[in-house]
């Protein structure tokens, strides 16, 4: 259920008004969008409020004609040589034992949160195999498509966007191997660009992205603009708490080596209070929040009330004044 953390709201408001200023940020200017001004490990995900996702896949830079904005449905449009070349990389993104193992482990848990909230939001039958049938859903920062594909299998009409062209290629190739996911529309673009195109979706989902963007408030406003009135927005990220520092940065990056060092920068992490306020300012009222709990013994993630490390939030886009969200 919704965790309202009233005492810290004011503080959080202040924090989100001056996004990352006081927190010892290594970024000189929150509005900065040039990749070259960012610390090296950030260049990969650069661009202000860009919808990029977790670490990029390893080797071989793409060659041949760049495949931007793609109607993903036609596998026929694939160049077989490209397919063969990227299949190997796609296997890394999609290797559940590989570098993205933690995401794969976490995926069912975050999907079950999304499934149950969206079923309630859109009054869908939770016992249906395809409860999201007919819903237009966008996965902002789709990476290799490990969230987009399950959403498509649940029946949603999915658009996946990512700022990293390589990710989009991999996602596109992987999805083409299953008829149910081949219809996902993958596109190398950013949330802002889609807003400019006046695109809207029934549900906007952006997992593990907001901690990588330059300006979380602007990012929230873009997500809001993409959400149709009364539509749903789902965001997950890592809390800026000591526990999160210990678990997600020291643990996952330095000790377990799950993630490349530098994947997460503590000062850029967003607390639940800040997220609630940022979304509120973007006309999205957060209805529900849950934490993720990792049990190292069973190696399984589960949902809990504890939002001190990883957490996920679901909100409803207010129906009034949808145009006022982007200023």
């Amino acid at each position: 259920m919704l965790r309202r953390v009233a005492p810290s709201l004011r503080r959080a408001l202040a924090a989100s008004a001056v996004p990352r200023g006081g927190c010892g940020a290594r970024l000189p200017d929150p509005g900065l969008s040039s990749p070259h001004a960012l610390p090296p490990q950030w260049r990969r995900w650069a661009s202000a409020a860009a919808a990029s996702s977790l670490p990029p896949p390893p080797p071989s830079p793409p060659q041949g004609p760049p495949r931007h904005a793609g109607g993903g449905s036609a596998a026929s449009s694939l160049n077989p040589a490209e397919v063969a070349k990227f299949a190997a990389i796609a296997e890394t993104w999609w290797d559940s034992q590989g570098p993205f193992k933690p995401l794969h482990l976490m995926n069912p848990t975050r999907l079950s949160f999304i499934r149950s909230t969206l079923c309630r939001h859109f009054r869908r039958d939770p016992y249906s195999a395809k409860p999201l049938e007919g819903l237009k859903v966008i996965d902002v920062g789709c990476g290799g498509g490990i969230l987009s594909e399950p959403l498509a299998r649940m029946g949603a009409t999915v658009t996946g966007i990512d700022a990293v062209d390589k990710n989009i290629k991999i996602a596109h190739i992987h999805a083409a191997s299953d008829p149910t996911t081949a219809s996902i529309e993958y596109c190398c673009t950013t949330a802002e660009d889609l807003v400019k195109e006046n695109k809207q979706f029934d549900a906007v989902i952006s997992l593990e992205v907001i901690e990588h963007v330059a300006n979380p408030l602007e990012f929230c406003k873009s997500l809001s603009a993409l959400t149709a009135p009364n539509g749903a927005t789902v965001i997950s990220t890592i809390n800026r708490s000591m526990r999160a520092y210990a678990a997600a940065i020291v643990g996952a990056e330095y000790i377990l080596r799950w993630l490349p060092i530098g994947t997460h920068e503590w000062s850029k992490l967003v607390t639940p209070e800040e997220l609630v306020l940022a979304l509120q300012r973007a006309s999205i009222s957060v209805e529900e929040m849950a934490g993720f709990f990792y049990n190292p013994l069973t190696r399984e993630w589960s949902l809990s009330d504890d939002t001190s490390i990883n957490y996920i939030a679901y909100g409803i886009k207010k129906s009034e004044a949808p145009s006022a969200t982007l200023q």
Partner: protein
């Protein structure tokens, strides 16, 4: 590969078919306690094709789940999937050439029971209830039993279990294997309007799992649509069948017995050993109905007398292979005498209140309230008056597969593990597998997972491996304990029996474990 070359290789497949037949005929003995009672599967060409290859429309050869082996456990997987809201839409196929998969009527209750039976536990019964198949069992022959007596030939110990001890109505139910299969088929028929489309009355010739680096068709040789189709199929398991058909599936379930073809093709290794023992099974008749399961440990192995309704009982008698062949060939009169001797005074005296009993009772009386049946006296099982079936003998072995799953593959039942049949646990473990696999698939569907995904299937393996290994170890330990006739060990064994008889919490736990309720008899 496209269907065309597959069809072209039908002749080659036919040659293979012959070989598989021999293999299947040989397997017939091994699966004696499992399979249908009908004629050997390899006896004749399958007469009726439910669906011939050319009737199929495009895309019909793509499945979600292909179950190889239509025995009890394979059918249970199919039935469980068709009964859950999230999995009932899945395209499921059962590949098995056994003609018994075509019979869809209740088996007569008044005939002579088949000697291939299973003792199903309350856990299995509740699984069958959940999937809607138990009511069909109740329409056919079955025998609940509420009492069980276990004793050994040294005359030092015995223990009696009563369903009352655990506040249950029964301890288990003995059902013919063909009734279990039939009930699952009948339930499937209720669920799927055309079960004929689900059952492929043919054999698996070869399996090809998707390679890591996907093969992509050579550019420009094929029209784009074919290429897309091929890309999709390259991600699925390809199954070539003996009738020339080719199927593609997201997940293959190996339910094809202890010598699983699927497991061998997938290259999954096993650990195991043969016991220097065979089991003889047959049906005998009494003058009155038997309502108790009896098991006596003899120097050569246990003999079990299980009620199977009316005045009939089923015999499962473990002995050395030489003894087994002798008992198989002796006259039926001699065999009945031998059975009665083995269940009565043969090999040693009846257990009675001995001095040991006295001490043990004193020793354990401090452990709190004793179970009601600890006061029950030893009874002599009802005598058999005649042998009414053939005697079948099959060798015993313990086998455990190193992995239950790999990408797009899951093994269930005997394909994953075989245990000593002495407590009738084998098939219950198999049904446990079926229930767990179906549940994991359903969870996968709910979060939009690819149902052949290894990280999903790993959850099934984690769930089942511990349970199956524990049971196999317990049964193997039992078997080892009784295969040695050594004085001090006999006393220990007897003490163990007494322990089981007098420490009620332990006894309750043992019953619960045997009933499939709890994880371990010692720590629950």
């Amino acid at each position: 590969m496209t269907p065309t070359p597959a069809r072209a290789s039908a002749a080659a497949a036919h040659a293979l078919l012959r070989r598989t037949r021999c293999f299947a005929a040989a397997n017939q003995i091994r699966t004696a306690s499992r399979a249908f009672s009908s004629a050997p599967a390899g006896a004749s060409e399958p007469q009726v094709h439910f669906l011939s290859a050319n009737q199929k429309v495009a895309g019909d050869d793509e499945l979600d789940v292909a179950i190889v082996g239509g025995g009890m456990v394979g059918l249970a997987v199919a039935c469980a999937l068709s009964n859950m809201p999230l999995t009932k839409h899945l395209r499921v196929a059962v590949i098995d050439s056994n003609p018994a998969l075509k019979s869809m009527n209740y088996l007569k209750k008044d005939g002579i029971p088949d000697s291939r039976v299973s003792t199903v536990t309350p856990a299995t019964i509740s699984f069958f209830r959940d999937i809607g198949a138990w009511e069909h069992i109740l329409q056919q022959r079955h025998a609940f039993f509420g009492k069980m007596q276990v004793w050994d030939y040294t005359g030092l110990g015995y223990t009696r279990y009563n369903a009352r001890d655990v506040s249950k109505e029964y301890l288990g139910c003995v059902v013919e294997n063909k009734v279990l299969c039939n009930s699952l088929l009948l339930r499937l028929q209720e669920q799927k309007e055309d079960i004929g489309k689900m059952v492929y009355p043919t054999r698996l010739v070869s399996l090809a799992f998707p390679s890591k680096s996907r093969n992509v068709g050579v550019a420009g040789l094929k029209p784009p649509s074919t290429e897309a189709e091929e890309l999709c199929r390259s991600n699925l398991v390809k199954l070539d069948l003996s009738d020339g058909q080719t199927l593609y599936s997201k997940l293959v379930v190996g339910a094809d017995g202890s010598k699983s073809n699927v497991r061998q093709i997938a290259g999954i290794k096993t650990t195991g050993w043969s016991y220097p023992q065979s089991a003889i099974i047959c049906t005998v008749e009494h003058t009155a109905a038997n309502d108790c399961a009896w098991q006596r440990f003899l120097p050569s192995g246990p003999i079990a007398l299980l009620p199977i309704g009316d005045n009939f009982s089923n015999i499962v008698w473990t002995m050395s292979p030489e003894e087994a062949s002798r008992h198989k060939s002796m006259s039926s009169e001699d065999f009945v005498m031998s059975v009665n001797r083995a269940l009565d005074f043969g090999y040693g005296p009846h257990p009675n209140s001995s001095s040991l009993d006295h001490y043990v009772e004193r020793l354990f009386s401090d452990f709190g309230g004793t179970a009601a049946s600890t006061k029950e006296c030893f009874e002599v099982p009802p005598r058999a008056i005649g042998l009414i079936s053939e005697r079948m003998a099959f060798p015993l072995s313990l086998m455990h597969s190193h992995d239950y799953v790999s990408k797009r593959l899951a093994l269930v039942g005997d394909a994953a593990h075989t245990v000593h049949p002495l407590a009738g646990q084998g098939v219950n473990l198999g049904f446990g597998d079926a229930a767990a696999l179906a549940k994991v698939i359903s969870e996968g569907v709910s979060v939009g997972a690819d149902i052949g995904d290894l990280s999903l299937l790993n959850r099934y393996e984690t769930d089942r491996k511990a349970a199956n290994i524990a049971m196999a170890a317990v049964l193997d330990g039992f078997q080892k304990m009784y295969s040695v006739d050594f004085g001090p060990l006999n006393v220990l064994r007897a003490a163990a029996f007494h322990g089981a008889q007098y420490i009620s919490p332990l006894k309750k736990n043992i019953i619960s474990y045997a009933m499939g309720d709890s994880k371990s008899p010692l720590f629950s």
